[in-house]
Structures are given as C-alpha cells and as structure tokens.
C-alpha cells in the first residue's frame, strides 16, 4: 500500500485528497501543477480528488520569472 510522489515512495493513506497530500509533503507553494497517473488535476479539484493506492504523483511548482 504505497504511492510514489516525485520519485519518493510513501505510505498510501485511505481517502487522502490532493490537498492533504500536499500538506503531508509540506509543499506549501501556492502555484502548483499536480499530475496523478499521467492526468493533470486542476487546482479546483485538489480538495476533493482522492489519491488511489499505487498512484504515481508528480508535483511541480511554478516560480515567477520570464
């Protein structure tokens, strides 16, 4: 029962949402793009999107500058 987040293996927690996972990972950046199993999860869905067991999660944060 595990998930992979940015290459790290973590315990899978039942009913954990994207928001809760980001909190657990201490990813506090406000502007983040999250992908679960190749699908990008829009920010509006972070509160209610539950992470399935064995998910591969990628989190990238956007930093100002251009």
């Amino acid at each position: 029962m595990s998930i992979t987040v940015n290459g790290r293996t973590l315990d899978w927690i039942k009913d954990e949402t994207v928001t809760k996972l980001l909190k657990r990972m201490k990813y506090t950046f406000p502007l983040i793009i999250v992908k679960i199993n190749k699908k990008i999860i829009p920010r509006k869905d972070h509160n209610n999107c539950i992470i399935p067991n064995e998910s591969v999660v990628d989190v990238i944060h956007m930093i100002s500058g251009g």
Binding site: I32, I60, M62, G65, G66
Partner: protein
C-alpha cells in the same frame, strides 16, 4: 554529414509553427532561436511595450524602447530571416480564452512572467487542447547553477525546471539564465517538431 538529412530537417521546420505566449525574457529569446533554426511560422502574443529596463535580458534594442514588443520582435526577426511568417496578437491573455490564437500551431511555448499566469495558462491549455504539446519554464532567476536545470515531462507538458530557484519577487533575473531557459524551451520545441532522433 548526410546533406539529405539536413535538407529533410529544414523542410520539416519550414512547414512547422510555434506559438509563444509572452514576448519578454523567455519569449523574445526563444523566438529568435527558433527563427535562426528555421521554424517557418511563429504566433507571438504580448500586450506590452519595450522599456529600457527590459534590455538587461530581452531581445530588443535601445532604439526600440516604446514600441510594442510584438512589433519590435517582428522587426528583429525580419533582420534575420524575412521569410519567417510572423503573426502577432497585441492582447493580454485572460482566463477563459488563453488558447484563442494558439489552436493551429504545432507546439506552444509558455513564456509568461508571473507564477499565477503560468499556472493558469498551462492548466487551461492542457484542459482545452489536450493533444497539443506545451513547453514551459519555471525557476529561472539568479545566476550560476546550470546543473540544476532539467527537463521535466508531465504528459504533454515539457518543462525547463529548476525547483530550487527563487521567485523573481525575491531574486533578480539575469540575461544568461533567462536566455538558457529560453533556448532550452526552443530546443525542446525542435525536439517535439522533429522527433528525438533524426
């Protein structure tokens, strides 16, 4: 070197198109690299005008201060390759219509400044044009640390990424790293247009 391969690549690039959202440090430098590489058509979007302070990293010149960035970059492109087709849109990108002028390009480059706009743009393009490759950059401030840049791929999103860099609100933007990221984006565009192995 096999000349027929170069010929094939040139022909492919000539019929290719790239759209660039934002013609600042990233967008102006990426556009010039793509023109020099031989990309046939560029769609360039920016509402802003050239300011003297932009000259520290953006591909404009002192005598272009006050001009629209789209007009100025078009002039500079014409001085390199007048055959490049350049379409410009002097508009501010807004939530709900980000993809409007980018529907028919082969590859999209995000070259915006604020993290908020970058995120909104990427989310909306991925949602509305799910099959369109999009290239973005995040973490380009400061100097040094070339080794921290890497390409991060999330489905159709290809990013030039340095997660340890600070925001431009907390650090300065310097020409070399901005141009590295811009050329990284242009290089990813060529890879997407031509395929990884020629």
């Amino acid at each position: 070197m096999d000349i027929s391969i170069i010929d094939k690549i040139s022909k492919k690039l000539r019929i290719s198109s790239v759209g660039i959202a934002g013609i600042g440090g990233l967008g102006s430098n990426a556009a010039i690299a793509l023109v020099r590489a031989g990309v046939g058509r560029l769609v360039l979007i920016d509402f802003d005008t050239v300011e003297e302070k932009n000259l520290d990293r953006q591909y404009f010149f002192l005598d272009q201060v006050g001009k629209l960035k789209t007009t100025a970059i078009k002039e500079n492109i014409e001085r390199i390759n007048p055959e490049t087709i350049v379409e410009t849109f002097e508009i501010k990108l807004e939530k709900g219509s980000m993809e409007k002028h980018l529907m028919d390009v082969d590859v999209i480059i995000e070259a915006l400044d604020s993290a908020e706009m970058k995120t909104l743009f990427i989310e909306e393009i991925i949602e509305k044009l799910p099959n369109k490759p999009i290239i973005a950059a995040s973490g380009i401030t400061g100097y040094g640390h070339c080794e921290r840049f890497h390409t991060k791929k999330l489905g159709n999103l290809h990013m030039c990424y340095d997660e340890q860099a600070k925001s431009s609100d907390e650090d300065f933007l310097f020409a070399p790293r901005v141009a590295i990221a811009a050329n990284w984006e242009a290089n990813l565009a060529l890879e997407l247009l031509l395929g990884k192995d020629k």
